[in-house]
């Protein structure tokens, strides 16, 4: 199994940390992982993206031009990454703030109301975990228990009290992802 993912959105949405938690979850179940962020000038202007690869085998290139899955969280990223999904691949997006919806017919498209659900749960910071839940429902490449282990590893101990909230957010995401 090799899953090549791009996660893209605004800076501050938790794009990089969502990728990091996914990568840590892969390590927890003994897989190879890589996490490569856009850094420097690419980040100026408010967009952030990260390429995450989770694989049973040694990972070759950490940078890619085509992905199995794109998780898209703003319009600029939609414009840039819709076309990079491999035929037969998956595109998951939060329709909040998207004016031009994806049109490709050769990929599977899902929506997850991440921003809305996080607001309803009373904490907009768990937005990225709702989206992660949506992704994991569509592509169950890592087990939920390993995500929780990954969270424990990647969060400082003083934030461990927030893990149940994050778990709830992931579960809500899993329940609410829908085919577009």
């Amino acid at each position: 199994m090799t899953e090549e993912i791009i996660i893209a959105g605004f800076g501050g949405q938790g794009v990089l940390s969502m990728g990091k938690i996914l990568a840590y979850s892969g390590i927890m179940q003994d897989q190879e992982v890589s996490w490569f962020p856009a850094y420097g000038p690419e980040m100026r202007g408010g967009t952030a993206n990260v390429t995450v690869i989770v694989s049973d085998d040694r990972i070759s290139s950490p940078t890619l031009t085509a992905y199995d899955t794109a998780v898209i969280l703003n319009q600029q990223s939609m414009d840039k990454f819709e076309e990079t999904v491999k035929p037969g691949g998956v595109l998951i997006y939060d329709p909040n703030g998207i004016s031009k919806h994806p049109t490709r017919k050769d990929i599977k498209i899902y929506t997850i109301e991440g921003a809305k659900i996080a607001a309803e749960m009373g904490n907009t910071k768990i937005f990225n975990m709702v989206v992660l839940g949506g992704y994991l429902k569509v592509k169950p490449i890592v087990k939920l228990e390993n995500v929780i282990k990954g969270l424990k590893k990647s969060l400082h101990e003083r934030y461990h009290k927030l893990i149940p909230l994050n778990e709830d957010a992931i579960t809500m995401g899993m329940k609410n992802v829908v085919e577009a």
Partner: protein, 361 residues
């Protein structure tokens, strides 16, 4: 099994510096390398091992602190990125001349000049052909993963002290900024002053009564004496060339074509090889792990074995390709492909170049 962590290449390098028993790290921040000193400052290694971490006032100060520290037989290290490494060249030349061990890590970015802060491999010439003035060479290690960013630190120290020379670790913004799984090696003890004195009888760490004066210098105004010193250095470089070449062959058993690539280009090329093999093209990778000494014999064996062409893939306008050509000596086709100035080539572009420049060219 050692401790498993998800780390950036820069962080792995920093953690490995602590664990390898470094006595002093002296550095100055520069993107895309700043996580090294940032990690070290946050980690407070003086509380873990007694290791000193100091932000110097400049790169020039850092390299000269290495001259002083390394001259006493301590394990010392710095890191920077291309423009900062250029500033250090004078110091590196002096240390090569004075035979002072140290590690200098270069997380290469686009150039020339201030360039940009994106990944590049355009410091190959500077790393392997000298960089500073005078007849000298430095062993150069090129990690291609976060794991190797950690593993190569103790290897670099071993080379540095075995041959009394600065050793370069040449990586780039891609390996420095990305995170991968890394298995950390166990903490190695820092040497005591007594151990250093015993192991390194050249260290200028104080002159007890009756001990001969120890002098570490690159200056000798007598040309005949300086020539003799140079003979000694050259002999050392020949020994390193004979004994310290490291490389990796990937999918080369049945390969008709070979991509020569190091560091992140080797990673990207591995994906290109997968794509090529899906199309039935038999291509493998020769990955130099030491850029100097360069794996000439390995290339020679591939030529003798009947390889039809070599493509040197580097994020530069074509630097390592010159060493490939020097080895192949027109016995078969050699060409270069690479994006540069901070642009990272894609696996598809590498495959396309292989087809147009080597297979069909």
């Amino acid at each position: 099994m050692g401790e498993l962590r998800l780390m950036k290449g820069n962080e792995a390098l920093a953690e490995a510096a602590i664990r390898a028993g470094t006595d002093g790290y002296f550095g100055y921040p520069i993107t895309p390398q700043s996580e090294v000193i940032e990690y070290l400052m946050a980690e407070k290694p003086h509380e873990r091992t007694g290791m000193v971490v100091l932000q110097a006032e400049s790169e020039v100060a850092s390299i000269n602190m290495l001259y002083g520290g390394g001259g006493t037989g301590k394990k010392v290290m710095t890191s920077s990125s291309s423009p900062g490494i250029s500033l250090m060249q004078e110091g590196l030349s002096y240390m090569a001349g004075g035979e002072i061990p140290c590690i200098v890590a270069n997380i290469v970015r686009g150039g020339p000049g201030l360039g940009d802060i994106q990944p590049a491999q355009s410091d190959y010439f500077q790393s392997v052909k000298g960089g500073g003035h005078g007849d000298y060479r430095l062993p150069v290690l090129a990690p291609a993963s976060v794991q190797e960013m950690s593993d190569f630190v103790p290897i670099a120290y071993e080379l540095a002290f075995k041959y009394r020379t600065p050793v370069l670790i040449v990586s780039d913004g891609l390996i420095g900024q990305m995170m991968e799984k890394v298995e950390l090696f166990d903490q190695m003890p820092r040497l005591t002053d007594e151990e250093i004195n015993e192991k390194y009888p050249w260290g200028t760490n104080g002159k007890p009564k009756g001990q001969e004066r120890r002098i570490l210098t690159s200056l000798d105004l007598d040309p005949h004496k300086l020539e003799k010193h140079n003979f000694k250095l050259q002999e050392k470089y020949r020994t390193i060339e004979e004994n310290e070449v490291q490389y990796e062959l990937i999918d080369c058993e049945d390969a008709e074509y070979i991509i020569v690539a190091y560091g992140s280009s080797a990673r990207i090329s591995q994906k290109a090889v997968q794509l090529a093999r899906e199309e039935g093209i038999k291509v493998g990778i020769l990955r130099p792990i030491t850029l100097w000494p360069f794996p000439k014999n390995a290339i020679d064996e591939l030529v003798v074995g009947g390889v039809k062409g070599f493509l040197s893939v580097e994020m530069s306008a074509g630097q390592m390709v010159e060493d490939v050509k020097l080895t192949v000596r027109e016995r078969t086709k050699v060409d270069h492909f690479g994006r540069y100035g901070g642009v990272i080539h894609s696996p598809e572009e590498v495959l396309e170049a292989l087809k147009s420049k080597i297979i069909g060219g």
